[in-house]
């Protein structure tokens, strides 16, 4: 198979790529990486992703890493397959999508990653949960979500009136976050909540989320 994703289902960044592939209806193979035994920090994996992070991606001879670059590559290369996830019809439209992908990267990701680490990752490794970190990061996340609430009161999706990578990039962490007791941070904001209900019930989201088991 030409498209290979090196990773594993539980990984949020792998899920980001799998969501994109599912939305586009593309065939792909997941090549499991033996993270438990440190395979991602050694060759041959390092030749696919020199940072030793998950996932890595191959499409024939094309080799890319960084989940957000992979999803964009797929959206561009397979523009005419399945739905248009970038708003490619016009540069001004696709730039709005790009802006909200940047917002996800630079405003949403950091507090969310910290919260998920404390609430979901640490317990797996027997590391104590730091409530103070959770509190601080929830406050930061709250401020970001206030901006999202305003945005989504004017627009059905973050990138405009169509579902795009700007929304999709948020899904992996939200799948885990909504399983925690702190999910009210989302449900208490009506437009953010409606947006989550919409994007989480998409068949591609349901399919990938089912495989995201801790």
């Amino acid at each position: 198979m030409a498209i290979k994703v090196h990773g594993y289902a539980m990984s949020t960044c792998t899920a980001r790529v799998l969501l994109c592939l599912s939305e586009k209806g593309l065939e792909y193979e997941v090549v499991p990486v033996d993270v438990a035994n440190g395979a991602h920090k050694q060759q041959p994996y390092l030749s696919l992703n020199p940072f030793g992070q998950i996932p890595a991606f191959e499409d024939g001879d094309v080799k890319i890493f960084e989940s957000r670059a992979i999803s964009k590559y797929l959206a561009r290369k397979y523009k005419d397959t399945g739905i248009d996830l970038l708003g490619s019809s016009s540069l001004t439209v696709s730039t709005i999508v790009d802006t909200w992908m940047e917002v996800e990267s630079h405003q949403f990701n950091s507090p969310m990653q910290a919260i998920i680490r404390q609430m979901i990752v640490n317990p797996i490794f027997g590391i104590a949960t730091d409530e103070k970190i959770i509190e601080t990061e929830l406050e930061k996340l709250g401020k970001v979500l206030d901006v999202y609430e305003e945005r989504l009161s004017k627009c059905k999706y973050l990138g405009g009136d169509f579902y795009s990578l700007a929304d999709l990039h948020h899904i992996p962490y939200l799948v885990y976050f909504m399983r925690t007791p702190k999910s009210s941070v989302i449900t208490s904001r009506p437009h953010v909540s409606a947006w989550w209900n919409d994007i989480s019930s998409r068949p591609a989201t349901v399919k990938v989320a089912e495989t995201m088991k801790v």
Binding site: P50, V62, E66, K77, T95, S105, H106
Partner: protein
């Protein structure tokens, strides 16, 4: 109508300035004083609801997030100035790959070093020496990977200068100048050659001349 770029004294807006010069696009700048908190003024928040810089205004068209702005202008003016994106979907894929690396792996530690070393006393908090040490170690590991990459590839995204390299200019300039950590670059042969190449581009030299950084702590 000329593009307006907000916050030229600071690093992130300088990504946009050097891109516009490479693409031969005229612009004006609008100062924003971060130390006076102008980025949190209600008027500014109408332009950028997250209260960060830069913002660009192109007539009625307002954009924020520096890397989104870079991609927009690189795409819009594809047929003039330097090609910063690559000619094929595959070339673009690699440019995006390494631009993500800059955003996700390079930027966080170098940003922490910038705030701690250059702005802590102006912002009113004590330097955290542990955090500085940790961030320098993280950055060193990233630079080791860059050294390997640049031993095989003239530029990060491939054999041409692209947004992936350009995005590194402003904060790396802080690293080698004001932060006094030029050794991190010079001790890595291929990173050193790459830095000399990209930082000596006339576009970057012009940005440094016209928009000096704020004075340090």
């Amino acid at each position: 109508m000329v593009v307006k770029v907000y916050g030229p004294a600071y690093a992130s807006p300088k990504r946009v300035l050097v891109c516009l010069i490479e693409k031969e696009v005229e612009f004006e700048t609008v100062p924003v004083d971060l130390l006076k908190g102008e980025h949190k003024d209600p008027e500014y928040l109408k332009l950028q609801p997250f209260g960060t810089i830069p913002v660009t205004q192109d007539g009625e068209y307002t954009l924020y997030e520096s890397r989104a702005i870079l991609r927009y202008y690189a795409e819009k003016y594809k047929s003039q100035g330097t090609d910063l994106l690559g000619k094929t979907v595959e070339e673009r894929g690699l440019v995006e790959n390494w631009l993500e690396v800059e955003a996700q792996s390079y930027h966080p530690p170098i940003y922490t070093l910038t705030i701690q070393i250059l702005f802590s006393s102006k912002l009113g908090f004590p330097r955290d020496e542990n955090l500085i040490k940790e961030s320098e170690e993280k950055l060193a590991k990233v630079l080791d990977i860059y050294e390997e990459r640049l031993s095989k590839s003239k530029y990060l995204g491939g054999d041409f200068f692209s947004l992936a390299d350009l995005s590194h200019l402003p904060f790396t300039q802080y690293l080698v100048d004001q932060m006094g950590k030029e050794y991190m670059i010079r001790s890595r042969k291929h990173v050193s050659a790459w830095w000399d190449d990209i930082s000596s581009r006339p576009s970057w030299q012009k940005v440094l001349q016209l928009y000096p950084a704020p004075s340090k702590n």
